[in-house]
Subunit: 387 residues, 2 copies
Amino acid sequence: MKFDFMYYNPTKIYFGRNAMDNLAEELSGYGDTVLLAYGKSAIKRIGLYDKVVDILKACGKTIVELEGIKPNPSYAQVMEGARLVRENHVQLILAVGGGSVVDCAKAISVAAYCEEEPWEKYWIREEAVENPIVPVASILTMTGTGSEMNGGSVITNEEQMLKMGRVFPAEVYPRFSILNPEYTYSVPKYQMVSGIYDIFQHLLEQYFSGDDDNTTDYLIEGVLASLIGSARAALRDPEDYEARSNIMWCATLGLNTITGLSKAQDWEVHMIEHQIGAYTDCAHGAGLAITAIPYYKYIWPFGAEKFVRFAKNVWGIDVSSLTQEEAALAGIEKLSDFIKELGLPTTLREVGTTEEMLPLIAESTVLGGGYKQMTPPEILEILKACY
Amino acid sequence: MKFDFMYYNPTKIYFGRNAMDNLAEELSGYGDTVLLAYGKSAIKRIGLYDKVVDILKACGKTIVELEGIKPNPSYAQVMEGARLVRENHVQLILAVGGGSVVDCAKAISVAAYCEEEPWEKYWIREEAVENPIVPVASILTMTGTGSEMNGGSVITNEEQMLKMGRVFPAEVYPRFSILNPEYTYSVPKYQMVSGIYDIFQHLLEQYFSGDDDNTTDYLIEGVLASLIGSARAALRDPEDYEARSNIMWCATLGLNTITGLSKAQDWEVHMIEHQIGAYTDCAHGAGLAITAIPYYKYIWPFGAEKFVRFAKNVWGIDVSSLTQEEAALAGIEKLSDFIKELGLPTTLREVGTTEEMLPLIAESTVLGGGYKQMTPPEILEILKACY
């Protein structure tokens, strides 16, 4: 583990079929007024809304509602939530939904008592949080973002046409998160596989960097192995509890920072997808799946040993009789096969990207990389290769 | 992940060569008087004592010292520490040393303001902690117990001839732990390999249970793979930083509860070793290594599939042409080879056990098990097999 690191993650996780049984006791640690933040009607359809409201009422809480948080939560909604928090003296923000709702809850938490313009201060200038914050908790219904156990908050400023993410410190992490894999059963299949690939890519972004022998890489290989098997089981039967529970926990592990410790990390596939998302309306996981293959085919020579290891340890390929190039490409091919198995798109065309958009996406992509510092012409090549 | 679980671990970890640079800032969060708890002269020999005292003084702290904490910390020392805490109004207990020192610090933390007899209340009756506690922090110099990131506290009551362990809740965990792998260089080789096997066995105790598909098992396989490689590297060169850093982090991961989530777990090898330790003075890891092989050879038929998986995923054995028995035994054989490679003893005789002790050890062992509920005659068979 070449690089020094700090690890601190104080979110309390309640996981399993009876996780909700802990809500009432947890609520006793917070004040009387709760902001109940959620998205569309999904949580009402599966009966979760009624269940949560019943528990809140039984605990004597006053409920203030913020409904309709979008898949890409808008800054306007954050400011609306912040107003509700101030006006009602809200003492806990309870997010019920997927990562977007949790991201929005964190944003409301820091924005409510911020005396400057929160967008400028926290998402543009990424300043430290000094104003009082309101505790956040979550009840998760979709997996992928890991927002239930980290400080990430991606917000879209619709007026400025800007989507910005930042990571807040541990005080802003959910104090507790309730993870019942059964709540994820009702997610449509396309969103399920998109979420699975999002988890996969989070792990790869952390894996493909560094040349030291690092326990974190072995940990990632373990999580990937679990995720591959459970993804296949969930494709066969979306109500396979073991599979959905493993996927849910892999998602949390994939982005609660433990699978990134002492790693330089990459994240360039996410940066490219980010801009594809800005020009199209594609699902995040789908955009990642499209971009990953040409990206890795391009960068493998700069981190060849790790790509050979990926082929061997993640996909079980016998690399002993292969050249380095054959082995690296065989591993990437297996990843490509897995993406097809998930039923995700493999070209930018399929998600509505036009040829004219490619240079614009390339020019606007934030440049970084794990084994290779990227340039706009290189990004353009990668985009053309998956167009 | 068949069983519901709760995960909550608020210890802040500073890891790496410069981890100590964070001590001063962390100290600013606590009061003026610090109990500096440590063992023998080891930390003075490597210059660590002076370094810590300098930082404490520069931060304006009043230092109260508790020196000479034993490898098996005694209840008398706990009560001495508790008295020092009360008399000096200590506001932080800083443990500098191995797991024993950290265990002792946690014990002092809960005992200082306990109005009943702490031994009876906390170690015998294992009651909840209701009295005020004193925050604990640690600077680690030996790896193995994971005490730096959990609530474990094993204390020996010398008057009563009893060694008892218990796990305290998160409030008693170290608030922060400083882990610099370089501090572990000076540990003698026998203690290093004993510590490595202790880590290994912690992982196996959690692994060998359950028949569900569980992400935690994949995580354990990842940590084991890292540990095996780094153990070999550390045997070749004890000052191989990458190897020692991986071992240190594997130790923390092995017992910070993340590698036990949703697992029934076993721990019978630890229970047997515990009683061997009561009759002899053997190193903990050595006693575990001796007992593990005959134990697993006895229980594998009750969890055969997991033992085949162990052979395949941990040791890379091609099990495709083997019977279940051949595969399971091949995996155990590889474990046995690894123990020999570490240079650990393989018989009870070597650590001073006499034949007369065997029935006494068998009768006094706490009975449990992962795939099989054990009985005293079965324990005796296992002991005879490694005598």
